[in-house]
Point group: C2
Chain length 518, copies 2
């Protein structure tokens, strides 16, 4: 099960030069990617049926009596009016049951295709797909500290994602490349995902035109016919909580839904600020927001794939800072998962969330609390699975590989307990008996290789060995791993005609408008 022990399956086509030849000559480089998780364990159901029904009834009341705002979007208001909503100004009130009825056309599960078909993912049902951190304007590593992220950092993070066995998805804005004009960086980001990785990725949502660019680039990568018939992008549509849908995000959602591409409709909530301070109140708002957003996606195109999202942090009432890995956030994740399953929708939440400024013990406690809740809470799409630091302001190179390693724990946990005759191991129990030792017995010899998950990063050595080797902490081990993975990286093969078409598209689009920053 060890990441480093897996068979090398280099798909790389080394490009030019002696360096590439040397890299190609190495044989032990692993670029194996585990298949997305299919859970063979139950979900953790924190709420009983009565509690769920109360929250659902309250959410309907909220939609009916308070409603939601679709701002600066007359066309959306028109669509809602046609669908039977009560529209006053920008406020949209939905008769009880309307939203849920509209949501019913959304698929329970869909495939997001990768350009390498082996890396396509199923989102929904009992699956869990892991994707890296999204959105940080800063990066941090041990060598150069905390600094604004650049396109070079972005490319490094995409490469690390490609090299991470337990990561299924290349993600989207793994960091903000602040050295590229804001109206053009989506082009470079998409190109990086499409050419430096062969895992599935996300589209731009910061302007509708950038969403259209994302679809257009997918048409170059996959072929227009394929894109017309299949989902090749999953993009993140944040709700402007409480209860507000802005024109930018809805514009992107409209583009993607029309194109049959997937959106995560995701309330972005710091509890106590954008939602009530209580868990049940927050769940009510989350459900109302998701129902309104998903219903709207189905007004655009019935059957468009969409994910029930819930990004939730707590708040430190002393400082106002968002906090992560907290028990309230776990409560909300567990409850939201149940609400999503009752809507028969895929569920997005969780991630390696933390508030720590360093990839230290705080970061790891908070991250593990969230990762464990995400697995047991039935998350289907886990953005921010690795690399998230400092409340999402920072993408940490070290934490990227640290968290990515821990995702292996989730894979093995999800397999559940083998109850086959081999799993029952009665032959071993008979063979060894009281006072014996299992290391040498036949059953152990036959099964030990697959028996235990093994970290590819953490230190399992005896104290003396570890001490002699410098007594390094996890961060130092991660620094070394980042460097090794980047050195070992080999670009996955891509038809040069496609790579050129992408470059041409980007050059044309960049030339078509002046640079804009901020």
């Amino acid at each position: 099960m060890a990441e480093d022990a897996t068979t090398a399956r280099g798909r790389g086509r080394a490009r030019g030069g002696g360096g590439a030849a040397r890299r190609a000559a190495r044989t032990a480089v692993s670029v194996e990617t585990a298949r997305f998780i299919e859970r063979n364990i139950p979900n953790f159901e924190i709420l009983d049926a009565e509690a769920l029904e109360i929250i659902e009834a309250n959410a309907e009341t909220l939609l009916e009596e308070i409603g939601v705002a679709f701002v600066e979007n007359p066309q959306a208001l028109e669509r809602w009016r046609d669908a039977g909503a009560d529209v006053q100004g920008e406020r949209v009130r939905l008769p009880r049951g309307l939203a849920r009825k509209l949501c019913a056309t959304a698929p329970a599960r869909f495939t997001q295709h990768a350009r390498n078909p082996e890396r396509s993912v199923e989102i929904g049902g009992r699956s869990l797909v892991t994707a890296p951190v999204y959105g940080p304007p800063f990066v941090r590593d041990a060598e150069k500290g905390r600094r604004y992220a650049t396109m070079e950092d972005f490319r490094k993070l995409v490469k690390l994602g490609y090299m991470s066995k337990w990561l299924h998805h290349s993600g989207g804005t793994v960091c903000e490349p602040t050295d590229i004009p804001v109206n053009k960086r989506h082009l470079d980001m998409l190109q990086a995902h499409m050419t430096l990785s062969d895992k599935p990725s996300m589209g731009s949502v910061t302007e509708p035109v950038r969403a259209r660019d994302s679809v257009a680039m997918c048409e170059l990568l996959f072929g227009a016919d394929f894109v017309a018939e299949n989902t090749v992008l999953t993009s993140l549509i944040n709700v402007n909580s409480p209860l507000t849908f802005d024109a930018t995000m809805m514009g992107a959602l409209e583009v993607y839904a029309e194109a049959g591409q997937a959106c995560i409709v995701s309330p972005f909530i710091v509890g106590g600020a954008m939602a009530p301070v209580t868990v049940a109140g927050t769940l009510t708002q989350v459900l109302a927001e998701v129902m309104a957003g998903v219903a709207y996606s189905q007004l655009i195109r019935p059957g468009a794939p969409v994910i029930f999202g819930a990004f939730v942090a707590s708040i430190d009432m002393n400082s106002g800072a968002p906090t992560f890995g907290t028990p309230e956030a776990s409560h909300i994740l567990y409850g939201a998962g149940q609400l999503a399953r009752r809507m028969n929708l895929p569920f997005r939440s969780g991630g390696g969330l933390c508030g720590s400024k360093l990839p230290d013990a705080q970061a790891a406690y908070e991250t593990s609390n969230t990762l464990n809740a995400a697995l047991l809470g039935g998350v289907n799409f886990m953005l921010h699975s690795c690399g998230w630091l400092e409340g999402g302001l920072v993408a940490s190179f070290e934490k990227f590989v640290m968290d990515a390693d821990q995702l292996g724990v989730l894979h093995q946990l999800a397999r559940g307990i083998d109850m086959s005759p081999t799993g029952q191991a009665m032959d071993a129990l008979y063979e060894v008996g009281p006072g014996g030792h299992y290391l040498g017995c036949a059953h152990t010899q036959a099964n030990f290789k697959e028996a235990f998950w093994r970290s590819g990063l953490l230190d399992y050595k005896p104290f003396e060995t570890w001490d002699e080797e410098g007594g390094r902490d996890t961060r130092a081990l991660a620094t070394e791993r980042v460097a090794r993975q980047l050195a070992d990286y080999q670009q996955p093969a891509l038809d040069p005609a496609i790579a050129e078409a992408l470059s041409d598209f980007i050059a044309r689009r960049k030339a078509s408008e002046p640079d804009a920053f901020g």
Copy 2:
């Protein structure tokens, strides 16, 4: 909810000197201890009924056909023969159903009394009682590094446990005081727990005579009549896995069971070495061992309180080192919890287990994986809840306060989701509406103090503030917290006559035999 924000409830009676007077003058010192956890959330049930029945049937087969060994303990063999077992040499084979029938007299739940009645704990049912690390021969802190533990270290750890809000139990061998003769250190350890803390503690198990000393000291502390009628000790009886019960541990169990004192019957398993490499095989062996040990306790005294224990680590097949916080260990914990509940016995497992040599991210990932599994897996008594480092070889002062802080997360998680009208927060949702902000609303003002768990240790400050204050990691914050807690420590009041009686007993016992080391 913050540890540092709790009302000061100093129970201390400052003793002599200006330092003590200065300490007594401080008003902000918190020595509040949270009540043991009563879960208001479901358990995570990883195995279905069919799987549980297979494991139970296999365990009966194991007891019937392979049996268990009671070594160097003729009286135990006699008891087994009288109870209907097939005894050949030291091997005891139990007819199907005998062990389970004998176990039925053990209580499902019991109270372990503390000398401060407010700190008594209920063990069993839906409770979770947290106790600190047990057994390390070494200690580590940032200042002096890793070294053999001394009695002075032991006392400091007991004081830290007394100061830890989310820790309910003072534990037992929080470290091995290697500077005290091995045949006398149990006396000093018990004295430390009894005089430096008022939380419940554990008895010695390393020789039957030391168990008798433990009971005798409890009689001095609580009164002999009280001890005759009540449980005041919970002690750790490890099974010598596989399937072997040695005379030392069984001798201690006999003493405690006869005295109506509680024992944890706990297989100590490194999977692949002391048990099969598979989870179901390990669960089968654990169940057989616990059933035999618990049944034996009930042969000594029907109704003696006893706990179903399962200490399980994985093994790194490369190095042979035990590993912690692994998915296989979580599988076993979840499954063992189900087996314990089906026997209607309290369940011991989990803890802040890790293999890391430092209180770093590895330690925290592994610890959180185990703490979360322990809460959801229905653990009733969690030894090693805080301070465990390096596979249990080291008690870490910093990790003690780091883990003890995280136990607060479990308390809040266990409370479940408030579905009262206040929890539902419909008034807040009506008040704020689309685009509003909850920070100032009436519902938030009325409820924010209790809304969110807040760490007493972790850093929630903005980056700039944190950076200006030195950019410290969690370990550095913990170093400071250890020093502050030890400086703030005030000894809980104890009748001087009792303290003197304990000292006299110890002096007499120490004088009665020569020192022995090792």
